[in-house]
Symmetry: C14
Subunit: 95 residues, 14 copies
């Protein structure tokens, strides 16, 4: 079962690294965008609605890269095609 263990270990490690490393950029980027929005609202309170809308669109765009990472981590954990294949091969070998 060494092959299965190798794939399992790599999958677990990859899922964790993907979601944790993938949180670095979006968190910093969203922090910068939110900081700019707060400074902008303080400077021009009349445009608060326009600024909020622009901020939310931007946050959504930036969050999308974090969501890519979360999706890939979920795929690796729960719908991993290589693991399914290796499991079938191991079961047919043992069957």
């Amino acid at each position: 079962m060494t092959d299965l263990a190798l794939i399992a270990a790599v999958s677990i490690l990859t899922a964790g690294l993907t979601v944790s490393f993938g949180a670095l950029g979006p968190a910093l980027g969203e922090g910068r965008a939110a900081a700019a929005a707060l400074a902008a609202i303080a400077q021009q309170p009349d445009s608060a609605s326009t600024l909020s809308r622009t901020l939310f669109v931007s946050l959504a765009m930036i969050e999308s890269t974090a969501i890519y990472c979360f999706v890939v981590a979920m795929i690796v954990l729960f719908a991993n095609p290589f693991w399914d294949q290796a499991l079938q091969a191991a079961q047919s070998a043992a069957g």
Copy 2:
């Protein structure tokens, strides 16, 4: 039981790395957003409620990436599909 030990060791290490590395970006991003909100409230106290609302929405967005990491760490520790599979295999082999 070497395969089980390998998967267990990788799972423990991954859970810790995921949640600790995943705390870096959100903490810095939230610090920046909060700093901007505090400066903005000091500059425009009349818009404090708008600024607070925008800050909380932004913090929630940024915190979401940290929560992804926490969720993945919990899955790896307590609902690890690879571990369950390996455990069943080991028990059926020993059964």
Copy 3:
């Protein structure tokens, strides 16, 4: 099945690294662009529509590099030509 396991492990690791590392630059770049747009709208509210349009085009350009990474990760996970080839070889060897 060692060859298959090696290719599977490398594919899983590559998919995770690609999408997580590829999220770093775009998230930071989009954060910077969005921050500049919010500051610009606060400074010149009359040009909000021009600024929004320019921002969205820029975000699309920057997001494209993240999408390249996501596409490559999906190819590596679900349409991996090397895996298909190795699988066929393994099946014909076992057939």
Copy 4:
């Protein structure tokens, strides 16, 4: 007992790394938020209560990521499911 020792060593190392690496981001982020709050209070002493409230909410949000790390480290040290499993297996093997 080599498997138990491996899991124990990885658990100890992970607990330490998690809590120490997880302290980096929150400490820096809280330092930035606190610095901004102090500058804001000095600039607008009349809003000190609003600023303090916003600061405390922000510090709580940022601290939460450090607490995730502390919780995971405690789980790894004192409620480690993999260790319990390995211990039972070792005892049943020795029983």
Copy 5:
């Protein structure tokens, strides 16, 4: 089939690294250029068309380096001359 597996593993890893690392610089550069364009439009709305044109030309130049990376990753995945050669050699050896 060890040689084939080595080339396949290296190709998969290279394709992922190329496109993910190659996204870092262009995304940051485009973010900077877009930020400058937005600030410039806010400062000089009358020159918006000139600024937009200059921005798009610059984005195209910067994006070109990301496209080089994407092209090389696609070549490595789908038109890899070394893989074709190794495949032919393996088939003629097995033929």
Copy 6:
């Protein structure tokens, strides 16, 4: 006694790394907060008491992450559950 030595070596190394790496962030964060407090007092001496109180609360929050690290290091050195378990196992094996 190799298992005991491995756990002991890892425990010593972990205790040192935890407390030294965990001192980096809090020290920098507290330095930033203190610097801001000093600048704020110089700018607004009348609010010195409010500023001091805010500073001390913030320092306590930041110091808490360093204390988490110190606590974990002490646990690893003096109340290490894995070491106790390994010691009992070694003594019962030798008994």
Copy 7:
């Protein structure tokens, strides 16, 4: 065929690293130059043509270093003298 596989693996890895690492500097440099051009046009719209011409010459100079990398990657992939030599040697040995 081990020698051929080694050269092939190194060539694939080198091509990817060359073009991806070589995209970092030019993309950042072009981003900076473009940002300066956009700020300059906004400040001095009358000199837009002179500024554009200077920008394009500069972008061409900077892009040249990225093109060096792309050329070397193409040479390594499609006109690799060491691969040709090794292939001839392998064929004459097999002939």
Copy 8:
């Protein structure tokens, strides 16, 4: 005596790393706080006593993290529980 030598080597290395790495953050943080205090006294000489008091409290807080490191290094060098245990085991084995 290999176990003893391993524990001794790790203890020496850990003591040195702990105290040297643990000096980085506090020294930088204290430098920043002291710099702010000096600038604040120059700006507001009348508040020198308040500023000095705040500085000394802050320095004490920051220094505390360095002292944690020094304490752990001393424990590792002179009151190392693992070393004492290993020494007793070695002596009883030799006794």
Copy 9:
């Protein structure tokens, strides 16, 4: 042919690393110089010709370091004295 393969692999890797790493500094330096030139022309349009001339001389100087790298990469790929020597030795040994 192991020696030949080693030299070939090192030569390919060196050529790629040389030209890609050597592109980092010049691209950033040229970007900075070009940015300064654009800002200078915008500030002093009357001196555009002097500024352009100074910029081009500077770009040529900076580009020279990139050209050194390209020349060395070309020498390593196509006029490698060590490869020629090793090839002759291999041919005389086989002759």
Copy 10:
């Protein structure tokens, strides 16, 4: 004598690393504090004595972390408890 040599090598390396790495932070921190003191004296020459006193206290605090490192290095070189123990063990073994 392999154990003795290992402990000696680790001790020498640790002493050097401790004192050299431990010089980085204090030197930078003291440089920053001294720079602030010089700027403060230039701005407010009348408070030179207060500023000098505050500077010297701060330098002493910062220097203390460097002295911790020097003390640990001296202990490791000249009063190393592990070395003394290993030496006695070696002599009694040889006696």
Copy 11:
């Protein structure tokens, strides 16, 4: 011929690393100097000749360090005393 191959491989790698790493500092330094010269000419066009002369002398000084690297790379490639010695030894052994 293993010794010859080792020296050849190290020489090729060293030549590439020397010239590519040695291009980083000079390119950045020249970029900074050129940027300052361009800003200075824009600020004081009357001193353009003095500024140009100073710039060229500075560029020559900075370029000298890049030329040191190029010279060493050329020596390593084409006038390598260790290679000549090893070649003579190999020929006399084979003679």
Copy 12:
């Protein structure tokens, strides 16, 4: 004589690393202090003597950390207690 050679190699490497790494911080710190002193003298020439005195005291404090490193390097090279011990052991073994 393997033990002696190991200790000698580690001692040489440690001496070089200690003094070269230990030069980084003090040189940067002294450069910063000196830069501040020069700016301060230019701003307040009347306080030149006070500023010089403060600068020299600060430089002496910062230089002290570099001197610690130089002292440790000299001890390691010329008064190394571990080397003396190992040499005596080797001579008595050979005597």
Copy 13:
């Protein structure tokens, strides 16, 4: 001849690393000094001769560290005492 080859390989690598790494600091330092000189001449053209003289003395001081590196590289390549010793030993062994 393995010893000779090891010393030759280390010497070549050292010569290249020394001169290329040693070019980084001086090039950046000279670039900064030259940039400051150019800005200073633009600000105070009447002091151009004093500024030039100070610049040249400073450049000579900074260049001296690069020359140390070049001298050591030349010694390692052409007057290496260890190589001469090893060569004599090899010749006397072969004589």
Copy 14:
């Protein structure tokens, strides 16, 4: 002669690393000090002599750390006590 070769290789590598790494800090520090001196002279030409004197003293202090490195490198190359010892041992063994 393996011991001699090891010591020789380490000595050559150490000499190069010491002098090249030791050039980084002083060159940057001297560049900063010289830049400040040039800006100061431009701002206050009447104090040029005082500023020059302070600059030269500072440069001498900073250069001293580079000279420490050069001295250690020279000692390692030409007056290496470990090499002399090993050489005598080798000669007496061969005598």
